[in-house]
């Protein structure tokens, strides 16, 4: 089926994009890589809508080190995340996550901003943001604000973004000395959204474990994290995941299987960061 689009306009720069968003009063959608948006328009899951194409907005690109943060522009493609030296050096969890996203053709187009705004609970990058305790840089007519990842993902496909706001970048704390990170997932078919996945950030000051595919949003496994920080064994920590996660039954796997997979992933991720 072909997409039902009510209009298309290309934003020249960031202020232009914001003013277009504002003028549309919630009737328009931002078009980034189009890898989720166009599919949902084609399937008529999203209603008829105008598109504001941000692909020409230069301010949204680029990865740079700013102090203790890695700033990643919203238009950064998954492929760039996978091949960036800065990402590999400072936030290896993202470098490990990027190749797990879909297939090469999709990684060439899909963007980090699109992935976070779309907020698929089985997506890798939202979980990375959560585990890394990143800030989402959001811009609207009233200016810029920063939202902690933990506050950004509200529900299934739902974020803290207001109708007239967009993501311009993310700011991710870089790894400190002695920090290890691991991203892992399991899927029935290569390239698919994960049945369950983990992003583990193992800092000397404490561990953060975010799971994806096991609840309505990426979920921080606070119970298991606290146990690990107390010195619990991986098995003991994994046993606590039942209280942390909210997996559901669906056509791809029963909830119990997803929970089991999450437990295995926690043990494997810990083995990787502590080996």
């Amino acid at each position: 089926m072909k997409a039902a689009a009510a209009g298309y306009i290309r934003a020249n720069d960031l202020p232009h994009a914001i003013s277009l968003l504002e003028q549309s009063r919630g009737e328009a959608r931002i078009l980034a890589g189009g890898q989720s948006l166009i599919a949902s328009l084609n399937l008529r899951l999203a209603g008829e809508t105008a598109l504001i194409d941000i692909n020409g907005v230069a301010e949204l690109s680029g990865i740079e080190l700013v102090g203790e943060q890695l700033r990643i522009g919203a238009l950064t493609r998954h492929r760039e995340l996978a091949s960036s030296d800065l990402v590999a050096r400072h936030v290896p969890a993202i470098a490990q996550a990027a190749p797990l996203i879909a297939h090469a053709a999709i990684r060439n187009r899909g963007t980090i901003g699109g992935s976070l705004a779309y907020a698929d609970p089985a997506a890798e990058l939202p979980a990375c943001m959560l585990a890394l305790d990143a800030q989402i840089v959001v811009r609207g007519p009233a200016g810029e604000r920063r939202v902690r990842a933990g506050d950004f993902f509200v529900d299934l496909f739902t974020t803290d973004l207001a109708e007239d706001e967009m993501i311009v970048a993310v700011e991710v704390p870089v790894a400190v000395a002695g920090e290890r990170q691991a991203t892992m997932e399991l899927a029935r078919r290569s390239g698919d959204y994960a049945l369950a996945g983990i992003v583990l950030v193992d800092r000397p000051s404490g561990v953060r474990a975010a799971f994806f595919g096991v609840g309505p949003t990426p979920i921080l496994a606070t119970g298991a994290m606290a146990a690990i920080d107390r010195g619990a064994s991986p098995d003991e920590a994994a046993a606590l995941l039942e209280g942390d996660l909210q997996p559901l039954d669906d056509v791809h796997a029963p909830a119990a299987v997803r929970l089991h997979l999450a437990r295995v992933l926690l043990r494997r991720a810990l083995a990787a960061t502590r080996s």
């Binding site: 072909k2 039902a4 029935r188 078919r189 290569s190 049945l195 056509v251 796997a253 299987v257 494997r268």
Partner: protein, 703 residues
């Protein structure tokens, strides 16, 4: 037989056209002034249409017509049953009444200037139903099995009941026994190219640019439905982007396209969406089977019982080869097979690559594997000890049978000797590794076919048959056959197919195109050479030839292909993920006309078998018959990254009986055998026997 080109790994003659986009598939045809039709599908699984409110849809821009049973003309629907249609029952009549027989049944069609407008209007139609709960699960208690009319009696092609000896008595007294149930999922064909038809009427003649694997049947079917002479229908189908059987029948959308074009008086283009393909273009029926084997301690079979049930619709009795291989695969004095079908509130199933054999051989070959462990005999050795000298189900000799040569060659190439026979004994890091094997078989069909050959003044030749090429390479292999028969270079032969005004060919299914069309082309080439020798002046000169199986040969021989399939799986011991690390098939399929095409045909079939084993399953909601996963994100098929090393090999096999070319066909057998080889490998890896397909992570974990 001149074999300068036959037997050579010639590249596809249409390869350049395909990769440059020059090959035109049905929906690629654009006619002047054509408009678009979009089908509206029922959103209940059983019941009646109560009302259709089309006011809003009709007002939308570009809308030309909204056609439903309320305003559609009554169509003739004269009786017509093609070679591929179920013998019993009546095909779905569309837009002729208010009855809804299954979820997704077409209930209306919208025609508009553009596709977008037609889709928009289709979504704006408001239809209400009186719905009842459909029966869609053949294992549920609200269904009843029946004996298909066409399977009654011993002469039936797929007999409901066969017996030799007393299998049940022999089973009861067998020293070693296995008795198990197997369940294979409903599957959809899912070729890349969606079904599409472009229809144009000129008076009472209609031309259909359409996706079909059976050109002359589409012509006859549409003529019968519209009550017009067959010659008034012209079908054009030069390229088919994959079929696997789904385009063997002429489904209701072809009728709807022609009906819409006639109603609006303009050419109409109609393409199904991926989702719609799940509704109305057939499916591999789910099967429920029991296989029981009895044997002596040294591994001689004393009894085989195979009982199978398959799905069908309420309005047609679809039958296939579910238990057909069981009678002749192995030597055994006592064999009983039983085949029943279960009518459900779904569309009629149809043939899907390896139809019946794929599911039936899954059950039989898993059972043989189970027996081998029970006996402590190597599974290949078990088959060797039961290798028959003749087809014991008919008493006829095989025209050729290379099952054991296939096993021997396969075992060597695969490294079977490295397998530790004990289950759960082989590991590679985190993976349990298992190796399994299974037999494959498929009959050698050969149907009456005609071909036309023409020699031109410039020394080139043209060959025409109403055949299809859904991907195996018909264009190429037939060019090879004709070039050899005429003694011409390949470049001097142009082979055309896919037009109903060409000489008729049988369905492009049942692995018979090479045999049937190839033999007819040889005959036509011989005829035209003879004519040309008699008359050296007139060019172009043309002649027709035909081929069909000699009934005497058919009476004398049992004709089948055989193969041995090997698979190695790796199973993540903690999470149960299953990976096919490598697979290998060896086939005895007569003469191989083009090893390059044959390899691609076989590896494609093996991928289909991997899908059947581990991923493919069409799910229906028991409450309303809704298809839960009717799209490619949720109906899983393997992708390139899921496929590791696949190999296909062919043993030398000369079979002078099957057909003049000595070919047996590869399309179906390449899928048969893969799923049981994988299931058997999974048992070897884990020690757990999983008998329901597809096998998924949770089956491995909870076993």
């Amino acid at each position: 037989m001149n074999t300068q080109f036959v037997g050579q790994p010639i590249r596809r003659v249409d390869g350049r056209l395909k990769v440059t986009g020059g090959a035109r598939y049905a929906a690629d045809f654009n006619l002047d002034e054509h408009v678009y039709a979009v089908i509206v599908n029922a959103t209940v699984g059983l019941g009646r249409i109560v009302s259709i409110d089309q006011a809003a849809a009709t007002r939308l821009p570009g809308v030309i017509a909204v056609i439903s049973h309320l305003n559609a003309p009554r169509l003739a629907y004269h009786p017509h049953k093609g070679a591929i249609d179920p013998a019993t029952g009546e095909r779905l009549h569309v837009l002729q009444g208010d009855q809804v027989r299954f979820y997704g049944q077409p209930v209306a069609v919208v025609v508009a200037d553009t596709l977008d407008q037609a889709e928009r209007a289709a979504a704006a139609l408001s239809i209400t139903y009186a719905a009842k709960r459909p029966a869609v699960d053949p294992s549920a208690s609200d269904t009843t099995e029946i004996m298909a009319e066409a399977s009654k009696g011993p002469k039936a092609y797929y007999p409901a009941d066969t017996a030799r000896g007393d299998a049940d008595a022999a089973l009861a007294t067998a020293p070693v026994r296995i008795d198990a149930f197997y369940d294979t999922a409903r599957e959809n064909h899912n070729p890349m190219e969606p079904h599409a038809t472009v229809a144009r009427w000129d008076g009472d003649r209609v031309t259909l640019w359409s996706k079909t694997q059976f050109v002359v049947n589409e012509q006859a079917e549409i003529a019968a439905i519209f009550g017009i002479p067959t010659e008034n229908v012209q079908v054009i189908s030069p390229f088919v982007g994959g079929g696997f059987g789904t385009t063997l029948r002429t489904w209701s959308h072809v009728t709807i396209a022609a009906l819409a074009a006639r109603q609006v008086g303009r050419p109409v283009k109609l393409a199904l969406t991926r989702k719609q393909m799940f509704f109305t273009t057939g499916h591999r029926p789910r099967s429920l089977q029991r296989v029981a084997l009895g044997a002596t301690p040294d591994g001689k079979l004393t009894s085989i019982v195979h009982e199978g049930r398959g799905e069908t619709s309420r309005y047609e009795e679809f039958i296939e080869a579910l238990t057909a291989g069981t009678g002749f695969m192995y030597s055994c004095p006592n064999v009983r097979t039983q085949y029943r079908i279960v009518p459900l509130d779904t569309g009629t199933p149809n043939h899907m690559r390896g139809p019946g054999e794929a599911q039936g051989m899954f059950a039989l070959e898993c059972a043989m594997d189970e027996l081998s462990y029970e006996l402590g005999i190597d599974p290949i050795e078990l088959r060797r000890r039961n290798e028959p000298e003749i087809d014991e189900s008919t008493g006829k000799p095989f025209s050729s049978r290379s099952l054991m040569p296939c096993y021997d060659r396969g075992a060597e190439l695969f490294g079977w000797a490295q397998r530790n026979p004990a289950p759960r004994s082989m590991r590679d890091d985190r993976e349990y590794v298992g190796m399994g094997c299974a037999s494959a078989t498929y009959p050698v069909l050969f149907s009456p076919t005609r071909a036309r050959a023409r020699l031109l003044a410039d020394g080139t030749a043209e060959i025409e048959v109403a055949a299809s090429d859904m991907g195996p390479g018909t264009y190429t292999s037939m060019t090879q056959v004709a070039a050899d028969a005429l003694g011409l270079p390949l470049d001097n032969v142009r082979f055309s197919l896919g037009r109903s005004d060409f000489p008729p060919a049988p369905p492009h299914g049942g692995s018979q195109t090479m045999a049937s069309v190839g033999s007819a082309i040889r005959a036509a080439c011989a005829a035209v050479l003879e004519a040309a020798a008699r008359n050296r002046e007139v060019r172009p000169i043309e002649a027709e030839g035909s081929a069909q199986r000699d009934p005497e040969v058919a009476a004398r021989f049992s004709m089948h292909s055989f193969g041995a399939v090997f698979a190695e799986v790796g199973i993540d011991s903690d999470v149960g993920t299953i990976r096919v690390r490598r697979a290998l098939g060896v086939y005895g399929a007569g003469r191989i006309v083009n090893p390059r095409l044959a390899l691609s045909q076989c590896t494609g079939g093996m991928v289909g078998g991997i899908g059947m084993a581990l991923m493919e399953r069409t799910m229906l909601d028991a409450r309303d018959g809704r298809l839960v996963n009717a799209h490619m994100a949720d109906y899983l098929m393997p992708v390139n990254l899921d496929i590791d090393r696949l190999e296909a090999h062919f043993v030398d096999e000369e079979d002078p009986h099957v057909n003049p070319l000595g070919v047996k066909g590869l399309g179906e057998i390449a899928l048969v055998g893969m799923a049981p080889a994988i299931a058997n490998a999974i048992f070897h890896a884990t020690g757990t026997r999983l008998r329901n397909l597809p096998i998924s992570i949770e089956n491995v974990l909870t076993a």
